[in-house]
Symmetry: C2
Subunit: 274 residues, 2 copies
Amino acid sequence: MLRITVCQLPLDIENAEGNIKLANMAIRDASSQGAKLVVLPELTNSGYVFRTLAELEERATTLNGAIIKEWESLAARLKLVLVAGLAIKDEGHFYNCSVIIDSSGLRGWYKKAHLWNDEVDFFTPGDGAPLVVDTDLGRIATMVCYDVEFTEWVRLAMLDDAVILALPTNWPDGGLPTEPTPLEAVRVQAAASQNKLVVAAADRTGVERGVAWTGSSVVADSDGVIKVIADRKKLNQIQILVADVEVPTDRKISPRNDVRADRRPDLYRGILRK
Amino acid sequence: MLRITVCQLPLDIENAEGNIKLANMAIRDASSQGAKLVVLPELTNSGYVFRTLAELEERATTLNGAIIKEWESLAARLKLVLVAGLAIKDEGHFYNCSVIIDSSGLRGWYKKAHLWNDEVDFFTPGDGAPLVVDTDLGRIATMVCYDVEFTEWVRLAMLDDAVILALPTNWPDGGLPTEPTPLEAVRVQAAASQNKLVVAAADRTGVERGVAWTGSSVVADSDGVIKVIADRKKLNQIQILVADVEVPTDRKISPRNDVRADRRPDLYRGILRK
């Protein structure tokens, strides 16, 4: 059984330093509750609603910057795996990233490949695959927010043998119904069950420059069953959500069915079409 | 606005004739309620829990058989589109099929490509793509039950310009939680929203040889919002479920996002891997 914490944090684009303080508090809080995997939201360092590229430039960190160094020591000291969203500047480009850090340090960084709405004005899209790394907790994949709606992307993580998908996200509230389950969490459930992997999504909260968020942080087990989900009555508050989940050891879903073996890739060629 | 009816029927493997009578009643009932698209469950003619191949042989119909003829006249007289699951024998093989019939007759038949559990002992898997046909109601795709869990399959239907997916299904109850929404319906919601198409799924009901069904017939609009879902308090009863839905005219989901245009097929090559 693996204890996972997803941290729904009220980030603030006007307070980059405060965001990281809050993130660090959340990591320590999660650890004190026994979490071995901690997931933070998308763009934890910067907030989301940029007006200018200069605003992003001021807030973005680098691979050698203080934030990742601090998280590396936290992960080493607390013996946990941290997956978090960060705005990162690298070789003159800005990327909407997710990093995987364990007690041995930064294990990999991923650049969001499917950008949402105005993000294209600020970020360069990634052109790699979903990041998947071996950890003491099992093989962990990561991608960012809108990426998860591209079913091909989650499949690629599964085909690369991921058993857990950690998803930093900022899910803007588009006005769709959130009862009984917000659609963002519904898609997480589907991704989990269709690929038989655990999905842990950390959403942000806190209205920012007029943008609100669905606040749908959720952990689904590999059957797609929700183990914990943010309380929509406590929107805009910090929510450190704890779930204990079984990490799957195979892809079987019936005596004679296996979501990987049952695929028929010979029939899927058309999927490469635009 | 399109009125769709999904018919959740207590089929019975011991009463093949009764199954078709029930199906015909459901079609007429749906029509009298104004339905233009009627969806019936998987294997409407035969029931599901076969003990021997002989049992399937006795119950299977053919493309030139009485059932499709009768449905062709019903569809013509009532001016509706019917999508239904049938066990069909063709050239010595048995297939778990879905047929699309409109007022001009049989428009196409589809053979289930992803077989569930013991179905492999009875049916030959299809090796075509999801069936997609132009109708007066828009471009309608069909596949059968477990097929829908293969996200590649729904994508292929979307890439073939389907705006509605009609899904005959028999969803056996695997004991997973059905509250607040059965996972079968959750996956339908995800398929709808990730591809921006309407999904109408007709499940069966009625315990058959010890097998129960989740009874999760559902219509989701192209945002993934559930417009109607079977009442689990009325399990084992006939449920003729009516929904009015907008048929989408594009794949846009934000001012600058489109679930088709945002795909990055150049990055998806790995999906053809086993």
